[in-house]
Symmetry: C2
Subunit: 162 residues, 2 copies
């Protein structure tokens, strides 16, 4: 059973949503790196030992892509899907190592209705991806496009407005 | 012949670097999406027709990963590799469609020496990824960690300082 998706009217600042978990292994880290970020500290466990990271770590873009995977399958199912307009802040406070299990917490920061586009608006979300020790590995603030349930059409669900 | 990598002392604000090109096809778009961003407009050409995008488009995180691929193999080879501390702005002004050929331009915005860490500093880069029509598909501002050539040790390349 998939819960009904959220429209703009359903989202309030301060709301928190959680994701499932996923585990990343050496093969996944090196496969992503070979395709998108072929640097020794993402590809070669031996060369990585003498790098800044002290061992093989996932590309930051791999961590970002895994975070997207967690978001798409999270409790926060948005009507219209997850359509990002932009990111205003993206950091990787700690590297992701082979065997790490990641999950994310999503907080609604602001909800913005549009005067010119009554059928939709935007929501600003803060996403924090953590490892199995609760340490943040990625933090980002994103702006997502979200449809309104009503846009001057007859009310389908009046309770949502009270 | 790989040119020597750039140290912090070699980078000046306003410098521009270019990347090669790469072309993204439907198979690559749907393979990335299946793994990291399984939404209909990234996975299913038929369902994508009725989406906001009017057709199958690459995940924004796929575009970001492809941009990283372009950067890692660009003219701007940094000593120590491309180690991103964070992104202060990331936007996708236009979607990437199957068959698009991407390239990027990298501009050095600022160069920051560190008082507390004489062996390294940071550089702020603006990266613009464009399609074959010159239209921007990704714009981001990133902060990268870059080693100094000298950190109180004997000069190896005095010319770089005059």
């Amino acid at each position: 059973m998939t819960p009904p998706p959220f429209f703009l009217e359903d989202l309030v600042p301060g709301a928190i949503f959680r994701t499932g978990t996923l585990t990343v292994d050496t093969a996944a880290i090196t496969a992503f790196a070979a395709q998108f970020d072929p640097q020794p500290f993402h590809l070669d466990p031996v060369a990585a030992k003498t790098s800044l990271f002290g061992g093989l770590v996932a590309s930051g873009w791999h961590t970002a892509a895994l975070t997207m995977r967690l978001l798409v399958t999270s409790e926060l199912q948005l009507a219209g899907g997850l359509v990002g307009l932009g990111i205003t802040d993206l950091r990787w406070p700690r590297a992701v190592f082979p065997g790490d299990t990641l999950s994310a917490v999503i907080e609604v920061l602001t909800v913005q209705f549009s005067a010119s586009r009554p059928e939709r608006g935007t929501v600003k979300l803060r996403t924090t991806t953590i490892n199995q020790g609760g340490e943040p590995v990625l933090m980002m603030t994103s702006v997502q496009l979200v449809p309104r349930r009503t846009s001057g059409q007859p009310e389908e669900n009046p309770e949502a407005h009270d």
